[in-house]
Symmetry: C2
Subunit: 320 residues, 2 copies
DNA sequence: GGTGAGCCACAACTGATCGTTGTGTACGTA
DNA sequence: TACGTACACAACGATCAGTTGTGGCTCACC
């Protein structure tokens, strides 16, 4: 089975006869005959009954037809996903489980017609920005820690997500039944976030958060994966961890994990969209519009942001 | 782009290097190299970065990979849909909008893992039964009008659906606000069912129904399609039509059509499943079990069935 | 820094495959 | 019966895919 054969099969099914299909495909009738014969031999089944007035689908042919069309659709999408110049919008997120990916999924749900490819480059702000500049990807979500003037000319950024935080604790933890918690209150508890490598944007953020409110954020310990961490949190009366409000978890079954929002002020992780100003992709402006509208809908609360954000983006926040 | 190239791409992406992929595919490393190079030339994009330790996906490759896998999945399904011996269960329905098709869709929803192909043969009971006997299809839904002993040996039937009826009327019709209607009450109204060719099972059914209750069922008039019929019904104070309770309509927009159930007794159109006793397809018994359970759940009401059904199946109904 | 192992690309060759032209056969119709 | 239409079969040429042989590159290890 190859695409030409499938395409030919669909053409014959549509035309009702080999000759017209041949004309549509710009090949001879004999070639069409061969392709169909080859496909039939391949599938070990007869797809058409040949008559003097053309070709008619057999039952097998009728059954195969929608599959064949689907095949061509998927092939066209696969082709369009990478072909330069008319590929789908390609957006990089740090992880498929964090807020930016969740928001992209919402965008896809509300705009199902817009082709969207979500990738995870596993790169820091600078590498991801370079990828945007090179045109490998159309946009990326990152915390922008440098002033705009340090970015190269065509790059634009906009703060689009204020990701709030929740404390995750087990049922035996002192905060288990709290409705909310302030950063100051968290100073009394040990917060465990293993596996966050020093030097990353995330580590910098939590370091500054810890310093600002006198928190104890512990990064030591072996990394057995997210599920193991959550299971341990659920079991412990002492341990707590911080996570983004919209994070999707691989929730360990049968554990009673509580999610307590952090407020007054709510520490937010400020995520920006980074893109090239001269990128003409129509879906890019749609995405930006969507993100702006989502941000406009968000309630205004008292928030805490790290100094690098305050320095560069307090003006932008003022518009709300 | 051809399937071998896509398959090779996926194999290399999985293996991480050309050589191992070649071994998996039982071809030489050079052939793999050629296939990938051909695919890259075809898509005008680089899919792998070649290193001394193997091949690594580029961003384009990462984006293309899920599409490639999807392509292979769809291809496998297309192949399985027709390949003799291991194809999906193939069930014939008269129309995709009537109760049998609706029930098949429910079955598919509750058993998403079972591969199912719904076809419309456009054949009468006898032709469809012949197709079942020939093995072209695995089962068909039809009203069985002949006693079981007249069917050839391997054919089995079971009454699985009692399709109740509704009267469709517009807002100006006398029955517009009725909660229900009896067949006897319908005698006062003109019922219009254009395009029902004489001699079909349906025509026979409605003829006998008309005779039993003194109804006027009018079959004359040009056929402009279902939507035109419904639009005309909605506009008229006189016209009404009958339809199966679970029929799916191409509902004309912005018309106020009312559906009034017919009861006391409820005329039902008795649909049977027809299959070959020696068909070993595992999904067939699943489908039969599902249909039986659905039928067992249905409330017992006073029904009217045509004489051909009463003659052959009253015993079967007694079990309820 | 040299050397060898591992990995991929290029070149030449060969067999298969695809599409073409030419022809045959079956069916329906004038 | 003859003719037109529609598909299948045969022979031929060009192209393509896969094989063997070889070379270049990178990395690891001595």
């Amino acid at each position: 089975m190859d695409f030409d054969a499938v395409r030919t099969f669909v053409a014959v099914a549509d035309a009702g006869q080999f000759q017209d299909a041949a004309a549509v495909l710009s090949i001879t009738q004999q070639a069409v005959s061969k392709r169909i014969a080859g496909l039939e031999k391949d599938l070990e089944v007869r797809l058409f009954t040949r008559t003097a007035r053309g070709a008619q689908l057999t039952v097998d042919g009728q059954v195969f037809l929608p599959h064949a069309r689907e095949l061509l659709r998927v092939q066209a999408r696969a082709d369009a996903s990478v072909r330069p110049g008319r590929r789908a919008l390609r957006v990089d997120v740090h992880s498929r489980r964090i807020a930016s990916a969740v928001l992209l999924q919402d965008f896809h749900r509300t705009h199902p017609r817009i082709e969207l490819d979500v990738v995870t480059l596993d790169a820091d702000v600078h590498a991801a920005t370079a990828a945007v500049e090179a045109g490998t990807i159309d946009a990326t979500f990152h915390a922008v820690t440098v002033p705009a003037r340090q970015l190269s000319g065509a790059i634009r950024t906009a703060r689009v997500i204020d990701e709030h935080h929740e404390v995750l604790v087990g049922p035996r933890h002192a905060l288990a039944n709290a409705r909310a918690v302030t950063p100051a209150q968290l100073a009394e508890h040990r917060i465990w976030m293993p596996g966050m490598a020093a030097g990353t944007e995330w580590a910098d953020y939590y370091d500054e958060l810890a310093a600002a409110f006198g928190l104890t954020i512990d990064r030591v310990g072996p990394v057995f994966g997210n599920e193991a961490l959550l299971a341990e949190i659920a079991d412990s009366a002492e341990l707590a961890t911080l996570a983004g409000e919209r994070t999707r978890y691989l929730w360990p079954d049968s554990y009673d994990l509580r999610r307590i929002p952090v407020r007054d002020p709510a520490p937010v992780y400020p995520l920006s969209l980074i893109w090239r100003d001269d990128n003409p992709h129509p879906a890019l402006s749609k995405l930006r519009g969507y993100l702006d509208s989502r941000r406009a809908e968000a309630p205004v609360t008292e928030v805490w942001t790290p100094t690098w954000e305050s320095r560069s983006a307090s003006a932008a926040r003022a518009r709300h």
